[in-house]
């Protein structure tokens, strides 16, 4: 697989993951670029005949890069919760205006609830529910046990349901 093909296949997924973990589109784009720069360097160094499971590697590198970004002092000061979801705006002509408003409201509530999860809960929830990795795979990518993954998932889901139920 060429670098271009790899980029085309996975850039969207990496960008979405970074956006979900950082809640900041500009930072997500920056981190995604950093990740694919690492991919390029990896491409240069590796044997062309070597088979590599790029997707888990990309996810792992992306999660670590996002974590490093979140830990950096200036990012914490300036971004912490610098951006927030106001309301989703996905026009759908088949819906009535009332349904559109309700849908926007629901989506906004989901995003706000999601952004209140801890960083680790977000990582685990996104990898399992959004990207579709199994709990074992998530555990391997994040370097934690499967039991820990399930605990994080349980807490994340419970918080989300509580917050969405309360609001």
């Amino acid at each position: 697989m060429s670098y271009e093909a790899l980029y085309a296949a996975h850039h969207g997924e990496v960008l979405r993951l970074c956006r979900l973990l950082l809640a900041n589109h500009h930072d997500a784009e920056e981190i995604a670029q950093e990740v694919f720069l690492k991919v390029y360097q990896q491409f240069q160094n590796m044997n062309q005949t070597e088979l590599m499971m790029w997707r888990p590697w990309l996810i792992r590198v992306s999660v670590n890069a996002c974590r490093d970004r979140r830990r950096s002092g200036w990012w914490k000061l300036w971004h912490g919760t610098n951006e927030e979801y106001q309301e989703a705006n996905h026009p759908n002509p088949s819906r009535t205006p009332e349904e559109v408003v309700l849908s926007r409201e629901t989506q906004g509530r989901i995003w706000r609830a999601f952004e209140r999860l801890s960083a680790r809960q977000r990582e685990v929830f996104v990898l399992h529910h959004v990207d579709g990795w199994s709990t074992d795979e998530v555990a391997e990518m994040l370097g934690i046990t499967t039991g820990s993954v399930k605990r994080y998932l349980f807490r994340a889901a419970r918080h989300l349901r509580r917050m969405l139920g309360d609001s």
Partner: protein, 186 residues
């Protein structure tokens, strides 16, 4: 609904936890099975929303991120500055330097500015002290405590300190030690 599973148990079962009796109950109880399916739908709906890229207009900077983010930091810095200033004022000996070279004349001019009741007890003793040799320590203490008669320090903690000095004078039972003992001679 008695005997039905709680939400927590349903979530545990969803993520592969729980115990066998709960799992058995889930297969038999229609109410719990319906709640379980609802849980699945909720989580799928959440995942679906997160999968969709939000419209750029949906993410916006807060109107006052600087104020909100920096307010506690600013308050902490201000508090730290105040603490540093106070500690320097209290513990740094150099803070007392201006009074070290004070002549007797200057000292008396400062004393004149103090409340008159500061020295109402034993003027003779006080005069003796000041004419003997004015201690810069005594003077510094008096200046710092100008608003409160130094005798109040020696009142027992029985609430008398809250009485006015006039009351104490009238009763003639002022149990304080003279001001001259407030500072020791070096």
């Amino acid at each position: 609904m008695s005997g039905c599973l709680r939400d927590r148990a349903l979530l545990l079962l969803y993520y592969g936890g729980g115990i066998s009796s709960q799992r058995t109950h889930l297969t038999k109880c229609e109410v719990c099975a319906a709640r379980y399916r609802q849980l699945e739908r909720d989580l799928e709906a959440i995942s679906q929303v997160l999968r969709e890229k939000p419209h750029p207009a949906t993410v916006a900077h807060r109107s006052h991120p600087f104020t909100v983010r920096w307010l506690p930091i600013g308050a902490a810095l201000a508090l730290a500055l105040v603490l540093v200033w106070v500690s320097v004022r209290i513990w740094n000996p150099s803070a007392e330097r201006p009074l070290k070279g004070t002549s007797n004349g200057e000292a008396w001019s400062l004393v004149d500015e103090l409340p008159s009741n500061l020295f109402l007890l034993n003027e003779a003793m006080a005069t003796g002290l000041w004419t003997e040799r004015a201690s810069s320590y005594n003077l510094a203490a008096a200046v710092l405590e100008a608003d409160r008669p130094c005798e109040w320090y020696d009142l027992p903690a029985t609430g008398m300190a809250e009485s006015s000095m006039e009351d104490l004078e009238i009763s003639g039972t002022i149990p304080f030690t003279p001001c001259v003992e407030l500072g020791k001679k070096p």
